[in-house]
Symmetry: C2
Subunit: 198 residues, 2 copies
């Protein structure tokens, strides 16, 4: 017998489609929505459709914005000759939160993954190459240090080097505050390889 009414089941299903939301969390979230004041639910639903309707990719760096250019690309105070390449917008947000990076970004929206059938044409690579026609001095590759991230980094590096633009990769190593004994061997080896003189 069906425990919940169709309305609740549909809402649970919708929540369960979201990333990182299992069946139990979806049930919890749906029941929470039902218990919220009606105006609040309507506001939430409205915010959702409004955001979807007004947000699109920045025409330069492909992050999300409701303008033609995102606030970072539109900011003339940033260094537009340095482009940091990230896999997704959350990675951009993470670097932006450091408050120390002054260049601009390029969001690939994915990484090359033969396993998942994602090739170079499925991510915003052509768009990156096109940006190099302008005055760009350095491309910093900040893809993840996963297999896909590394593959993508290698690919981009080979693609860009012939153009003469400097290509760098963010360092891989022991996280700040990390306890050596808790860190995997690959990271330890990377940290050793990447050692710098004091």
């Amino acid at each position: 017998m069906d425990l919940y009414s169709g309305y609740i089941n549909q809402l649970i299903e919708e929540f369960a489609k979201l990333p990182g939301v299992g069946n139990k969390s979806a049930q919890r979230l749906a029941l929470h929505i039902i218990n919220m004041p009606k105006e609040h639910v309507e506001h939430f639903a409205n915010v959702m459709t409004e955001a979807k309707n007004h947000i699109h990719y920045c025409k330069s760096c492909y992050t999300l914005t409701d303008q033609e250019l995102c606030p970072i690309c539109a900011n003339q105070g940033r260094d537009h000759t340095t482009i940091m390449v990230v896999e997704n917008i959350r990675d951009l947000a993470a670097y932006e939160k450091t408050g120390k990076y002054e260049g601009v970004y390029h969001v690939l929206h994915g990484a090359i993954s033969p396993m998942l059938g994602i090739g170079p044409n499925d991510i915003k690579l052509k768009e990156l190459v096109k940006r190099l026609e302008e005055d760009v001095k350095e491309v910093i590759i900040a893809t993840n240090s996963s297999l896909e991230g590394e593959t993508t980094a290698m690919y981009i590096s080979k693609l860009i080097k012939p153009t003469g633009v400097k290509v760098t990769r963010i360092a891989s190593g022991v996280p700040v505050g990390g306890d050596l004994e808790c860190i995997d061997e690959m990271t330890l080896l990377r940290a050793l390889e990447g050692r710098t003189e004091l």
Copy 2:
């Protein structure tokens, strides 16, 4: 500088208000919504408001339903003389999933908690007592075995006993498949106290 546009920030805020959703998850969910096809977002928003508009408490047991009575209370095949009292709908769902309980339920929507200022009048207790006017033989108290759940169980038991209705409490003990050495002392003591003859 504000990284995301106002639309995205609002959506992140809405998600972050949900239970168990932190700032990072909220960001992830909001960006996922933005990347979903437009029709899907509209459907989600619609399902949310529709569910809120059509769902209310069952007038008998106070679970959620879109009818006057929930499917359990409306089912004449269930044993209406046995009422299991639970703190919330998720607990009802958990027992219902066992498929073995044939009685009906009563959802308190909370538990007595002097710490949080939740008294007997803040949960559906009067409504439970009122149901005893009909032909009820047993009230099974299935509140959590937390401090609040136990307090509530004691309170209900004292409230109902004078009416002559049988009051029982679900057993507390070692979970099935549980490893004794991983179980806390309170549970071990409960399991000992509640031992049954073989």
